[in-house]
């Protein structure tokens, strides 16, 4: 494993001589810390790309607040070599290598980590980011009239299920899934900062529907998602119609059901897939309608997709609701 470069000399005393903790430079005065941790079980069959995915997924929470990653710590659970374990240690090395590639890309430094012996592989990062506290995006700051823009297509839950099932087309599905899950949400965060946006989140385990409902409730508004506009990765709708929808997706949908209004015209499959549990999904940016085009142009200029998926509406009879139109 090659640790990410420390270009600014943030690490004052590292772990190269087996020190148990790392002395690290505080961020410049005036910046606040963004602190987060996220751990995943394996997704797909490629250890290096799983490592990249887990790192991108953990770093994403910092990007969702408009922050920049400062330092990370690895957290790994892995079966120690024994007669019962047939998982070679090279798998852990590959996971770590993949993760460090993404950490290097993010500009963060590695401040150590911890591995524990466990029957099941898990990997993730604890991430410290920095952000101007007056300009951090929050998940409870939606404003009526905001347009909602998503930066990655949906469907990693369904694709992971098809891969697990060794369904025909699974190899292509795996390539497509990793193409998105290993992608950092750094550009979305750049647009948050450049435009001074107020509200954003990243789309992960609760699915788009679950995460926007959280935002709506925190912000005391309703959110309408246009199911016909939801972007799905290739094959997702076909796999889903064959019954390859993960339990987590149904759980998300059912958990949100009492606060969700599904319009008569909405396609049932798309309304369910609005809750597909995502791994390392995109950012959802709330942008004043008048600046929607500007946001899309800024994202496009950075090579980032921009999918308009819905809008923020006033409360309905005093209640926050998710409306699937």
């Amino acid at each position: 494993m090659t640790p990410p470069p420390d270009r600014e000399g943030r690490i004052l005393h590292g772990f190269s001589n087996n020190e148990d903790a790392v002395l690290i430079k505080a961020p410049p005065a005036g910046l606040a810390l963004v602190q987060t941790v996220d751990i995943l079980g394996p997704i797909g069959n490629d250890a290096r790309l799983f490592g990249q995915t887990a790192a991108a997924n953990a770093l994403s929470d910092v990007y969702a607040m408009g922050g920049q990653p400062w330092s990370v710590m690895n957290i790994a659970a892995f079966p120690s070599p024994s007669a019962e374990s047939d998982t070679p240690m090279s798998v852990l090395a590959d996971i770590l290598s993949g993760a460090m590639e993404k950490v290097a890309e993010s500009g963060a430094v590695l401040a150590g980590g911890h591995t524990l012996d466990d029957e099941w592989i898990k990997f993730g990062l604890s991430v410290t980011g920095v952000v101007d506290p007056g300009r951090a995006t929050k998940n409870d700051a939606l404003q009526v009239g905001d347009a909602l823009i998503l930066t990655k297509p949906l469907g990693t839950g369904v694709l992971a299920t098809a891969i697990k099932a060794r369904w025909p087309g699974g190899d292509e599905a795996e390539r497509e899934m990793y193409r998105w899950t290993t992608r950092l949400n750094a550009h979305g965060a750049e647009v948050i900062r450049a435009m001074g946006l107020k509200a954003a989140t990243d789309i992960t385990g609760f699915g788009l529907g679950g995460h926007v409902l959280e935002m709506a409730r925190g912000s005391r508004v309703c959110v309408e998602l246009e199911t016909s506009l939801l972007p799905f990765m290739p094959q997702v709708e076909d796999f889903a119609s064959c019954g390859l929808i993960p339990a987590g997706t149904y759980r998300n949908r059912d958990y949100c059901a009492c606060r969700t209004i599904v319009s008569e015209n909405a396609d049932e499959l798309r309304a369910t897939l609005a809750f597909d549990a995502q791994t390392s999904g995109g950012l959802l940016l709330a942008v004043p309608e008048a600046r929607r085009e500007e946001a899309c142009e800024r994202l496009a200029a950075l090579g980032e997709p921009a999918f308009f998926v819905g809008r923020v509406l006033p409360l309905r009879e005093g209640k926050s609701r998710l409306i699937l139109a």
Partner: protein, 67 residues
Amino acid sequence: MLIDTRGLSCPQPVLMVYPHLSGSEPVDVLVDNTTSQENVSRAAAKNGWKVEAREEGDGIVRLELRK
């Protein structure tokens, strides 16, 4: 034909049922969770089968798949 998927999680039930959807012999499937029920029903509908669900008690549902 009876396929018992009780105790199995996604995508196993769909994998067990799918090979039988290319024929036309009636298939009954026992499921014990929403995910299996919905996914098996979707798989059947996609292949042109009609699905009827009957509660068997204790959270078990019998899906009657008919061509």
